[in-house]
Symmetry: C2
Subunit: 266 residues, 2 copies
Amino acid sequence: MKAYIIAIGDELLTGRTLDYNSHWIAKRLTGLGIEVRRIIVVPDDENEIISAIRDAVNKKDINIIITTGGLGPTPGDITLEAISKALNTKLKLNEKALRMIKDRYEELFKLGYVSSMEMNPSREKMALLPEGAIPFFNPIGVAPGVFLQVAEKKSIISLPGVPSEMMYLLEQILKYVHLESRDIFIKTREITIEVRDESTFAEILSDIRERFLGINIKSYPLGFGKRVFMRVIIIAKGKNPDELDELIQKSIEYLRKKVHETKDNL
Amino acid sequence: MKAYIIAIGDELLTGRTLDYNSHWIAKRLTGLGIEVRRIIVVPDDENEIISAIRDAVNKKDINIIITTGGLGPTPGDITLEAISKALNTKLKLNEKALRMIKDRYEELFKLGYVSSMEMNPSREKMALLPEGAIPFFNPIGVAPGVFLQVAEKKSIISLPGVPSEMMYLLEQILKYVHLESRDIFIKTREITIEVRDESTFAEILSDIRERFLGINIKSYPLGFGKRVFMRVIIIAKGKNPDELDELIQKSIEYLRKKVHETKDNL
C-alpha cells in the first residue's frame, strides 16, 4: 500500500502554521505498513488543489490519498469542490452528512457555543460531498471527515485541518477501511555507533544493503566532534515479525564487526 | 516571484523527522515577498526527485525552486544527480566546490574531527555539480550549497538537510541573488475579534474581500466556547508600505463595524 498526503492551506505556505498534520499522518501510516511516497502542500487555490489531486489519482501505485484542511464553512474551504472537479464528478448534498452537521449544531447550540442551531448556506456547504462519498461524524468540530473510493484500489480520505479533529477522524476512517489489520509488519531498530569518518562508513552500509536483502539501512551523523557517532536506523518489512527481528539482529552484528575491523585498519 | 520547495528524504515521509526546514524556508521567502506555491516532500528515490524537479521547472510562473537534503557523501545522497538528470545536463566535477570540500576536511582534520584529510570518492562526490552550478562554502558541515540558473527567470537552490547548514546557506544564496533587496512589501496584521458564529462571520469576510482589493483576509476560530473568538489575519502586498498599512487599518475598522452591527441583529 502506498499513500500521498495532500495538505491544503495558505497558512502552511506562508510559514504561519507548521504542517504537523502531515508528519503525524506519515508516522501513523508508516506504522501500519503503508509507504508514504509524497507529501504535497498546496494553497487554498482551486486549480492547485485540482492539479495535486489529479496527479495523485493518476499515479497507478498510489492507493490512498489523504487530504487535510479546507472542509469548513468559509468560502476559502474548497477541498471537496476541488476533489469533485478533479474527478469530473458532481458535488451533491449528502443527507447523512447534513444530519451529522445538524446534530453538531444542535449540540453546540445547547451548550451555548453557537447563537443559533438553524442551518444556513455556509453550514450546509459542509454537507456537499463528491458523489459516492461516505461522511464520518466529527464530534470535536463540525465538518465531517470524508471517505471516497475512486477506483478498485484507490481511495481519497479528506480530513479537517484542525489537528484534534484530523487525528480523531483519521482513526475512524482507518478502522472503517480495515487499514489497521496488518498483514505486513515493519520492525525498526536504531543504534548509535562510533565511526572514524562518514565516507568510510558509507561503504560499509552499501555492503550491508547488498548482503541483507529485505532491510533498509540509513545513517545520520550526530554532529561533528572529536569522536564521531552515527545514528543508524535499520528497517525491515515483511510478513513474519520474528524473522524481521532476526534479520535486523544479524545486520547489526555484521555492521559492528565491520566498523570494528575498519578502526583497526585506520 | 513564486517558489516551490522540494524537501528530499525518506525520514520525512516515515514520520521519523519533522520537516521543519520547509516551514522555515516558507516563512523566510514570504517575508521577502516571494509567494511559496507548493511544498513537495519526496523520498530518496531518483525517479521521484527527477519528477518533482521537472514538474517545478515546467511550471512557467515558478521562479525559484529550493531543494533541501541529499547533498552529503553517502550513496543515498542523490539530489544533484537527480537535478542534472531532470534538466538533461551533465554532472561535472566543480573545481571550486572541490576546493571548498578539501578546505573543510583539512580544517576538520586539524580539529581532530575526522581521521584523515585525504579526499576519497565519497568526499569528491559532493563536488559533482550540474553544469553551470555555483557552489557556496558550507562552514558548518561540508557539502556546499548550490545555485543553478536554469532559465532567464528560473533558478534552483540546493541546500543541505541539516537545519543549521540549510539556514546559513539559504541566507548566503539569497544575498547572492539579491533576493533580499525588496521591491514588494508584505504587511500583516492579526486581530482577535468576538463573533456570534463562524458562518455569519464568513459572509462579512467575503464582503471585505470584494470591498478592499489588494488585501487577503483569513480567519481561524480559536476553539469552541461560550464566547467565540476568531483570529483574523489581514495580509496586504504592494510597493508602498505606508499605503499597505492604511489599507489594512481601513479594512479592520470596517470589519469591526460590521461585526458589531451583526451582533445587534442577532
